[in-house]
Point group: C2
Chain length 141, copies 2
Amino acid sequence: MNSEFNIAVHCLTLLSLKKDHMANSDEIAKSVCTHPARVRKVLGLLRKQGYVTTKEGVGGGYLLNADSSKVTLGDLYRLLARGSLQPSWCSGGGESACVVSEHIQEVMERIYSGGELALERHYDNITLLDVTRDIQSENQP
Amino acid sequence: MNSEFNIAVHCLTLLSLKKDHMANSDEIAKSVCTHPARVRKVLGLLRKQGYVTTKEGVGGGYLLNADSSKVTLGDLYRLLARGSLQPSWCSGGGESACVVSEHIQEVMERIYSGGELALERHYDNITLLDVTRDIQSENQP
DNA sequence: AAAACTGTTATGCATATAATTACAGATGAG
DNA sequence: CTCATCTGTAATTATATGCATAACAGTTTT
C-alpha cells in the first residue's frame, strides 16, 4: 500500500483544525513531511470528490468543503487505497495441471476483496471528526 | 503486502487436497508458479508453527499436520502478513510545529492496527476447509 | 557412498514508491 | 495589463521492496 490514504487523512485533519479551514500546498507539505507536489496530487483527487475546493493565485490554497462528522475513513480508503490489499503477484495461473493452481486466483481474489470489505466497514465507523479529536487528546495527555 | 500469505494458503490447500497430504517443494512450486526456494521459505515458517512436518532425504517433502477445519485464514494472516497494512512511509514526524504533524503518527498507527484487527476477525471466520471447498466448487461450475 | 530432499543465504533484476524538477494554466494584487 | 503566486500535471531520478535464481551445507533414505 502507498501512503495516499494516510496523506488524505492528514490533510483533511489539518484543514479541519485550522481556524479558517484553509492552507496551501507548501504549508501542508511541511506538516505532512513530504513534497508539495505530492500534496497537490492527493488533494486534487479530494477536490474532484468535493471534499475540498481550491483557490488558485495569490493567497490561494485548499479549503475544506465537507462536514468532518460526515466524512469517514471508509470514504477515503475507497477513494485512495481500494485494491491495495491484494499483492501484484499472486500464486497459480501457470501451466500446472493441478486443481489448486487452476482455480486459486479466483478464490484468492474473493478472499482479498472480502477482507477489504471488512476493512471498509470498520473504517466506515470512523469519521474525520473522530480523528481530529484523537489528535487533540494526544496533545493533552 | 508481499504474497507469502497467498503462498501459505495455496500450499496448505494443495496438501489438504492431496490423497496422502504430502508433496515436495518442486511439485508445490510448479503449482504455485514460483521458485522452490520460495516455497521452502514459507513452508519453513509453517513448520515452525506446526502446520506441516518435513521429511528430508529421498522421497521427502512436506506433510500436512493440521485439521483443515481448525486452521483459519486469520491464523495465517497473523503469521505471514501482520503489519503489512501500514505503509513503510507515514506522514508527520518532521520538525513542523503543528499539532497534526506532531501526533498524526500515533493516531495513524492506531488506525492501521485497528483496521488490521477488523481484517483478522473477518479472516478468523474462514477456515482452510472453506478454501478447499471453494477450489473444488470452482472446478465444477 | 550416492542421490534426493530441506534450510538458508547471497545476488541480481523488476517493480513500486517517494522525491524532485519543470512548466502550463489560473487567479488576485497592484 | 502585468507580475507574483498558487494549483495541476507530467517527466525524471532515487530508493526500497519483492521475486527469481543460484549455491551450498545439512539430513535422510536407498
